[in-house]
Amino acid sequence: MKRLSTLSGYDMLAIQMLYKGAVAGFIYPNFIIRSTEGAYWIPIAVWAAGALLSSWIFSRLLAQLNGEKLIAGIHASIGGIWTCVICLPVIFFLLTALVVMLRAYTEVITMTMLPTTPIAFLNGMLIAPAILALAGMMPIVRAARVFFLLTLLLTLVLLIVGLSDVHWITGAPWIRTNGDFLLDKRFYAASFIWMGFVITSLIGPHTRHSARRNWKMYSAALLCTLPLIMGYIYLPVMTFGRELSKRLTFPFISKMDSISHYWILFENLTAIFVSVTMFYLFIVIALKLHAIGEMVAVIMPRANKRWIHSGAFLVVYASATLLVSWRVVENITILTIGLRLYVMFVFPLFGLLALAYGRRAGKEGAL
């Protein structure tokens, strides 16, 4: 029964698309819309290229592994202390990402559907993905497959319905850009949406073959989700115009609110959007928690897996509950830009160095 439990191509596609779906829906459009006066697809495309580069570096790194897990491989090469040093920022990044994600989502819920339900109670929903994370990678993948089917279907429906009342001319300018986004911190803050490959790299064993396949599937997922991301950004813009969209905290949610058709069964499409986002979110939170669990398990081999996960759960829950306001959530995303850039570009380079060092040390040891 001990098959090598790597992700299949389809699983990778599903997980990556779920990741994008989970993060692209609420904070992201606002960041992009406010970051530039020019065409919105340009900052998206710039980051997509960045994501491809980052994932390519990662895939080179993963290709060095022989059915090991990434962190375990690094640990074997350079020992515990150095692994700690290069991994701590990654763990910290995962934790902040979890906090932001959870809090942003519960904030959306209180802003739209359940205005008086306490955030502390809503944050409790973290328990479901936490249990899933504890159950291991294959259960996450299986749940991801089911959620992927559900969410893909519903998201497509929402996007297609969202095409009503759209005026293409409002989306202009389509080509013009003056590069103003490069100076805007929100542009860099929006990088969190492109971290999908990092998370799948951190979990599960990898081989040369699986690394190449994963990278291909990641690129495919990137292409598939571009329409989704574009939809999240351009649909509100083309409905409300740029001026109003800039003022909206969640442009896509307001867009969903504005749709009214005689034949739509539900009056309130926002409810469906928020529900679908929950599916997206659960998988991504579970993956991140699992990644944290695996990393900590490598660094502290004697720790009980259950305690690690409980600890991560408590930290995320407490910090998400203690955050004061939406502003803080936004600020955290902006403050952790450096962390994300480290994880996307510097960490895999360190990893490559570490593995190369480990191989040389191994050779010298053999000689």
Binding site: P115, P118, F121, P173, F240, E243
Partner: protein
Amino acid sequence: MSTSGYGRAMMLLLCLPIVFVAGCWDSKDIDNRLMLGVMGLEKRSVDSPLNVWFRFPLPKGAQDGTTSKQDFFTTSQYGQTVSDAMNKVRYKLPKALDPSSTRAILLDESLAKTGVDPYLEFAIRERSVPLDAVVAVIRGNMERIFTHANPTGELTGIYTKLFFEKYAGGIPRKNRTMLWEVYAKLYNPLHSNLIPLLTEGKQNSYVLAGNAIFVKDKLVGELNLDESLLYEIFTHRFHDSEVELMSKSDIRIVHNHTRVSTSFKDGKPIIRLDTSLVTTLIDSSRYRRQNASEVVAEFEADLNAHAKSMFEKTQRLGADVFGFGDRFRSRLQPSEYEKWPEMFKHAEISYSFRVDLRNTGLEFLD
């Protein structure tokens, strides 16, 4: 997780408090809510406070099937803002006020003239009133509209919605405008609002009188019904068929297409509209015989006259209700957007119509 009954019992015990949480927050049973159907904002003069009218449809009791009972309840409340009025009206109500299903927001003409912006923001910020509620300007006495029963018998609120909806009483001239459109155009310097204008009806609740032109958030003029028809054609909002009455014969427009081409010359926007209409004849004058080409020529003359008066009116006011400005987004710098209303005043607008008379109905014309 242990297999013992003890572990299972512990889990159940842990889950039990959650069940007691049921109904703690945000839970109000539907029969304990008063669903708001229509809301009316009225302001008699600049200094007087806002008067908000509320009309609640009442559920028909299952026990007494008789409809003799009044099926709605109306109340009004003064307040500084809509939210303020809503809070105050709660002092009077036995059940929870629930504006989440509001179908229509009626604005008083005098309020529209002083500016609507301060009174609409609550809707999008708090997400209390649905963004797809229909907005209309009312000329005349709002009290009568709110306190009298709908003669056609529909539930209140639904009546106003049906009045505009394409699947029911909506016709192109009615220019259905939803709350989010109003709100979006308030912020968009390139596009002005055009909101249907209703007057109090004699036998009915209200009658369509025209469409009110807004500059920023203030009502400044109106388009009459025939001009509204052209507005609908030029802005691609015209989807159904519509009857155009002429002096001698009546024509139905069954299909229309407008091509808008824009350019920019010497800081002056140039807008060219080419419209093709497919029509059918539905009634001809018996007194003066006309052939098809005469009918078409007369129709074109009519259209040109309406278009001329419409563009004159809007350009004079600097109100780009057509959204031509959006077509200049790429050509203007974002900083220049604010100047658009001025530019629109001097824009060169030309239009041409191509009318095809597809058939003359089941009877030949000559």
